[in-house]
Amino acid sequence: MRPSQAQDETACAQDTIDLRRFGVIGAGIMGCGVAQAIARAGSPVELIDLDDDRLQAAQRTLRSNIRQQKFFDRSAPPVDDQLALIRMTTCYDGLAEVDFVVENVTEEWDAKAGVYARLDAVCKPECVYAANTSAISITRIGAATKRRDRVVGMHFMNPVAMKPTVEVIRGHHTSARTLDAAAAFLKSIGKAGVVVEDMPGFVSNRVLMLTINEAVFLVQDGVAAAAEVDRIFRECFGHPMGPLETADLIGIDTILKSLERLYEAYWDTKFRPAPLLRKMVDAGLHGRKSGAGFHSYAS
């Protein structure tokens, strides 16, 4: 099954992995988290989203995230110094010189595929693409590029600043060198990776999304209110957060999209999203990022 080492990237002239310039696509929850981690490590980063409104929202999110991190990381540089390392833009031109891109756009195939076509047009050949996706196959993403050996899955956990470990996914054509670059990148931002093979949802979300979905069905069926469901997981199982608080943190829209991606990928009805999830998305209850989901987060 594994492509031979001989198929490893040949266009990549350098022998040592030297990552200095970074790009992050998508300035939502995860893109902001990844850009913040890169800036915390002292490197400049290009952060790209679709329009100025979203970039302004991202600026507010980033400031809040970086301030929050100060509580736990007293040696972190001043908030404004970290923010200054993040260049926010809607333009891809600044990516021509980057060595490593982390893509974090909406969990939809068309959105992701469009981004990779644009990246291929501007990034240098040796640049590695890391796809931060909840459930989409990395092999499929690789096939949407002209450099499938230089594409790796990098499923960051949320909040990125507080989670030390990342699920790294080897697509069918991902080269050993690309995995080394992924490891070097993670090390540079103070994180470790656990490498797994590629199947939609990987390890984490094949299990987590089913758990969250079933917890949503519990609320929908009137078995327990969200607060009680979460309390049982926290107080009976000792989990730091319950599944519905976790869903609010991830984003209810992203949960719905992830379940849809899993359902499409496996054609297995066990991944059918609870109708209550769709209703909440339609109602604008997207979780923490919108101020309310299963719980309320208004200040």
């Binding site: 301030r67 100060k70 509580f71 507080m162």
Partner: protein, 96 residues
């Protein structure tokens, strides 16, 4: 209690009242006492910290500086009162 202390306690009354009101909306059924450690006692988790910071900044119009971003300043109702009272603060309306 000395006059000075009584005076400062009276001054923090609105801070205390508004902070308790804010917490009541977020902690569920049991309200913490003013000295309870909100985080250690599990009333809220660390993700709630920035909601507290935003609340303090908007409701009391204080500037929370980089150096103020310490759990000690936000760990209990008492701590928040002390922190805000030590700043140049002014009560803002709920809509602020």
């Amino acid at each position: 209690m000395s006059q000075a202390l009584a005076g400062s306690a009276a001054e923090t009354t609105p801070i205390r009242a508004h902070t308790r009101q804010f917490l009541a909306r977020h902690v569920g059924d049991t309200m913490p006492s003013d000295s309870d450690d909100l985080f250690k006692a599990g009333y809220v988790n660390s993700l709630f910290l920035m909601q507290l910071v935003t609340f303090v900044e908007t409701r009391f119009a204080v500037t929370v500086e980089d150096d103020d971003l310490k759990i000690e300043n936000f760990r209990s109702v008492e701590a928040i009162c002390e922190f805000v009272a030590g700043k140049d603060w002014a009560l803002q309306s709920a809509e602020a």
